[in-house]
Amino acid sequence: MDPTSIGILIVVLLLIIEIVVMLLKLKVDKMLLLMPLIGVVFAVISFALNSYRDRLLSSLSGYAPSIVIYGILAVGVIFGLVGVAIWFRGEKEARKLASTAKSIDSAIAGIESDIRGSGMDIERFEEEMGSIKTKVEEYETKEKGV
């Protein structure tokens, strides 16, 4: 097996790994898996053309068969990379939304604690003023008694 076929097989393997990882670990939408899958298809076509170059591309002369083989491989690789890029973009947006939600949540918690604090302050004032009132009444009662 010539080195080109080995190289194309490695690319195919990488694309397959991408598909497996995206499927199992990254829980992506099924539609997004089509991208590396198409990439694999193109890479396999490229491998097949390379393996049967003499039979299938015999009609082409010079560098043309190589250009076809590498062109098809490049399209497969591009499909694989676009799939990864789409995943990264989606993940980034998700993180951004989560962080916004978190910041809103903590800000609200801050406001809540502020409001509770003010409420407690008012409660304390009410107690204090109540005790002042009681004291005044006590004094008045005492005054009546003396």
């Binding site: 509770r116 008012i122 204090e128 002042i132």
Partner: protein, 898 residues
């Protein structure tokens, strides 16, 4: 009295509105001092007014005996004797109708006794003691208390005696109406006093129809609602509970005292012999305003801190309000953001296809957080709204607290005023302090608690003032004049010295070393002064208790005592309680005001009621004609309810609040009035002398000056004749009035059936009668002659004047002279006419004088001893004849003297 040893069961019963209020006050004071009511005490109220009873919040509900008005049919069935107009009552309770109260008692008697019996039995079970002490309080002017008091007292006495085999000691407290109250309650009070006095006069048992009509009270205290026209309700409210609690009549609420000083047995012993008379209380207190000072200091210390804190609170609240506004804006902003984020998440999640990726797992958490934040925001918005309301409330409360602070400031100023310019009364004196003294005492406020009243005053350099306000009321005797009724202690004030000289001449009055009048007859029974303060406030040397006792026993009371009560808790007050036992409320003599001044307005209001209206002022014996008949000796007609009721009313109408033996004390006063009137007669005759001695100028020496002098003389004589004319009318009326008084007195003395007083007294009376009678006999013998002589003398004056006028030369009759002559002739005509009337008036006095003389002889017969020793009396009479010169009645004799 030592704590823990008291097994005497004590029941306090308030009857009617005022009685219940007083019991409620006693209970409140007791609870304040002792926190709980001692187990040997029960407090009950009986009232016919639901609202009034409900106001007595200190009294347990089950101890309130509230009597509802029955319908008229039930009322009539239970009280056949009750007149139709009184089958229902207007207003609240008994509508101030005592007759209605009596009927209510008959309807509810069983209920009243069930409640009192239960209370007594509970006490007996709790303490194991069988001795009972009952205090009954009521107002005399109302309808409920005054009408039920006597029946309840009798029934309680009988019931407890039968149930527990020991007669209870019952004290009564009656509040007399003030002079400003309307006629109905005022007359009610006299009705109550008459009935109470009637019962009190019966000291021996009189059991009729299983009811003992003897006096149930050991002591009955009369208290007045005003003193010298000033309302004393506040003093009464303070004094009655303090008296009962502090002096240990109701132990438990008393301040801790050291040593035994006066207990119920002592008191009963002192009251022995005076159960048939009324009693009264007196209360005086001098205080150092320590409690007020401490309160002032506390307020002074407290106020700046409170004010500072309020400023801080105000700043904080305004801060919070600012924060609330900001937070509300923030919340709204976040609400918007959440909406955006939610939209973003939704759009993120909704994206699908080959060219998109959405991490749903990662956004689920964000979604949850956002949703939680959204919910939180909505609840926080409510909290902010609440907070805003609470902040507004707090602001309002702060304003309220500022007002409270103003109240505190006002209280401080009031205390300062109270301390620097106290409102002192006859019964309460608070030491006045200057602002400098208040400030100086603040520095040593801790020491103040331990120092005695005397030591504080000494520290202020005012010890003399201390003695003046605490010890002087005793050593100068002021305390005796401070009872809680308007009582005249001395004959001196009631008689305005009119008859004092005559009574003194005949030995009925004596004078002490200071010239004060001493009269054994008018002294009341026992005077007890209890001084209550911490021991180190007493100074025996300054107190002069011995001298006070001597002074009181010489002039006012038959017996007196000054008791010192060491009360450690009363370190800054000096209280003086007085008990006056055995008062004589009636007038010292006919025509004189009563000793108990309240009787003046009570009698006036009572006498204004006609016979029909009079029955509403009475209660006792209505519907019980048989006991009434047995006790009074008046007949009754079985079944004739209306007639029997009228007999009872007539009996009460004629009843006098007067002790039988005291009627004898009236005799010297009536006789003194006779002698005084006789003196007045002689003074009147002197005026006749002045007229007759008018100088008429010599007719031969006419001049205008003489004519003018004659006219003036005639005018003056005419005026004197006018006075004489009035005087003869007044004198005649006076003799008739005196004769009536004398006849009334004789009738009373005859009705008494009691023995005449001891011989020295009757002997003095007979001497007075003899002197008065002899004067009258001489006057009667010569009255015709006096009258004729008077007419002749005046005729001579008139004739001489006419002669002078007739001899005026015709040449001198100028218009001025003619005017003088006309005036002189007019005066002569008037003089002639009036002199005839005066002469007739003098002659007419003979009739009443003769009648008076016969009454005097009647009186003398009554005063004659059954078996006298003529020799001894005769000698004394001769001596008296020698010592007392007869008045000179003859005009001629007087002229000779001159």
């Amino acid at each position: 009295m030592e704590k823990g040893e008291d097994t005497v069961n004590r029941i306090v019963i308030g009857i009617g509105g005022q009685g219940s209020t007083i019991v409620n006050n006693i209970l409140r004071t007791l609870k304040t001092k002792a926190e709980k009511v001692p187990k040997n005490q029960e407090f009950l109220i009986i009232d016919t007014d639901q609202a009034s009873a409900s106001a007595c919040t200190e009294v347990e509900e089950r101890k309130k005996i509230i009597l509802n008005r029955p319908d008229t049919i039930l009322m009539k069935n239970a009280n056949r004797w009750l007149p139709d107009p009184y089958l229902s009552a207007a207003g609240a309770g008994c509508g101030q109708h005592r007759i209605y109260g009596r009927a209510m008692y008959n309807v509810h008697r069983e209920r009243i006794f069930s409640a009192i019996g239960t209370a007594a039995s509970e006490l007996r079970n709790r303490t194991g003691g069988k001795d009972f002490f009952v205090i009954m309080v009521c107002a005399f002017g109302g309808g409920t208390g005054s009408s039920m008091l006597l029946d309840v007292a009798i029934d309680i006495r009988d019931w407890i005696s039968k149930q527990f085999g020991s007669e209870p000691v019952i004290f009564g407290i009656g509040i007399l109406p003030s002079s400003k109250e309307s006629a109905l309650p005022t007359a009610n009070a006299l009705g109550t006093m008459k009935e109470l006095h009637f019962l009190m006069s019966h000291t021996e048992d009189i059991v009729v129809e299983d009811k003992n009509y003897s006096n149930p009270f050991k002591l009955f205290f009369l208290l007045g609602r005003d003193l010298q026209g000033q309302n004393r309700d506040d003093e009464l409210e303070r004094a009655i509970p303090r008296f009962l609690l502090d002096l240990g009549f109701l132990p438990g609420g008393s301040v801790e005292t050291k040593g035994k000083w006066l207990d119920l047995n002592d008191l009963q012993n002192r009251a022995r012999g005076y159960e048939n008379r009324f009693d009264s209380l007196g209360y005086y207190e001098c205080v150092f305003p320590t409690e007020k000072l401490f309160l002032l200091y506390d307020i002074e210390d407290e106020t700046p801190g409170v004010r500072q804190r309020l400023v801080e609170i105000e700043a904080k609240i305004s801060d919070i309000r600012g924060k609330i506004d900001t937070e509300r804006g923030e919340l709204e902003r976040f609400e918007g953001r959440i909406r955006d984020v939610q939209r973003e998440i939704e759009s993120y999640e909704s994206a699908s296809g080959m060219f998109t990726h959405a991490n749903v797992g990662a956004t689920a958490d964000a979604k949850a957080k956002v949703e939680r934040a959204r919910k939180k925001i909505s609840s926080l918005k409510e909290e902010v709204f609440d907070l805003e309301i609470r902040a507004s409330d707090a602001e309002e409360e702060k304003r309220g607290t500022e007002r409270n602070l103003e109240r505190l400031e006002a209280l401080k100023n009031k205390l300062l005023r109270d301390i620097t310019a106290p409102l002192n009364t006859r019964s309460y004196h608070q030491i006045e302090l200057s602002e400098a003294e208040i400030r100086s005492l603040k520095k040593s406020r801790e020491d103040l608690k331990n120092l005695s009243f005397f030591e504080i005053m000494k520290k202020l350099g005012r010890e003399e003032e201390f003695f003046r306000w605490t010890h002087s009321p005793i050593n100068e005797g002021d305390v005796i004049f401070n009872p809680m009724v308007n009582y005249r202690h001395s004959i001196e004030s009631t008689m305005a010295s009119r008859y004092v000289d005559i009574l003194h001449d005949y030995g009925f009055l004596a004078l002490d070393a200071l010239g004060n009048i001493v009269n054994e007859e008018e002294k009341f029974g026992h005077f007890i002064a209890v001084l209550s303060t911490r021991a180190d406030n007493f100074d025996d040397a300054r107190l002069g208790g011995g001298a006070f006792k001597t002074m009181v026993t010489e002039r006012f009371a038959k017996d007196a005592d000054v008791l010192k009560l060491d009360t450690p808790a009363r370190s800054h007050s000096f209280a003086l309680y007085t008990l006056m036992i055995g008062l004589q409320p009636w007038a010292p003599g006919p025509g004189l005001p009563p000793r108990l001044r309240e009787l003046e307005w009570l009698e006036k209001a009572y006498n204004e009621s006609d016979f029909i209206r009079l029955q509403r002022h009475h209660s006792l014996f209505y519907g019980t004609p048989k006991p009434f008949s047995i006790i009074s000796g008046l007949p009754y007609m079985p079944g004739a309810d209306d007639k029997n009721r009228d007999i009872v009313t007539t009996y009460w109408k004629n009843y006098e609040v007067l002790e039988k033996d005291a009627i004898w004390n009236n005799v010297p006063i009536v006789l003194a009035q006779c002698l005084k009137l006789f003196d007045d007669l002689l003074t009147g005759l002197n005026k006749a002398e002045d007229i007759k001695n008018m100088r008429v100028p010599d007719p031969e020496s006419y001049s205008l000056a003489n004519l003018t002098m004659l006219v003036h003389g005639l005018e003056s004589a005419s005026k004197s004749m006018e006075t004489m004319k009035r005087w003869t009318k007044d004198a005649e009326r006076g003799f008739v009035h005196l004769k009536n008084e004398l006849d009334e007195l004789i009738a009373k003395l005859r009705g008494l059936g009691a023995a005449t007083p001891a011989e020295p007294k009757t002997e003095k009376m007979r001497r007075m009668i003899d002197d008065a009678a002899r004067n009258m006999e001489i006057l009667i013998d010569r009255i015709e002659e006096l009258s004729n002589r008077f007419s002749d003398d005046i005729k001579t004056v008139i004739d001489n004047s006419m002669v002078f006028l007739g001899k005026i030369p015709s040449g001198d009759t100028t218009p001025s002279v003619i005017r003088h002559i006309s005036k002189a002739e007019a005066e002569i005509a008037k003089l002639r006419e009036d002199s005839m009337k005066v002469a007739k008036g003098i002659r007419d006095m003979g009739g009443p004088l003769a009648l008076l003389l016969s009454s005097l002889k009647e009186l003398k017969k009554i005063t004659e001893p059954k078996a006298s020793v003529p020799g001894v009396v005769g000698v004394e009479r001769e001596e008296k004849k020698k010592s007392v010169e007869l008045p000179d009645l003859s005009l001629d004799m007087r002229r000779n003297k001159q």
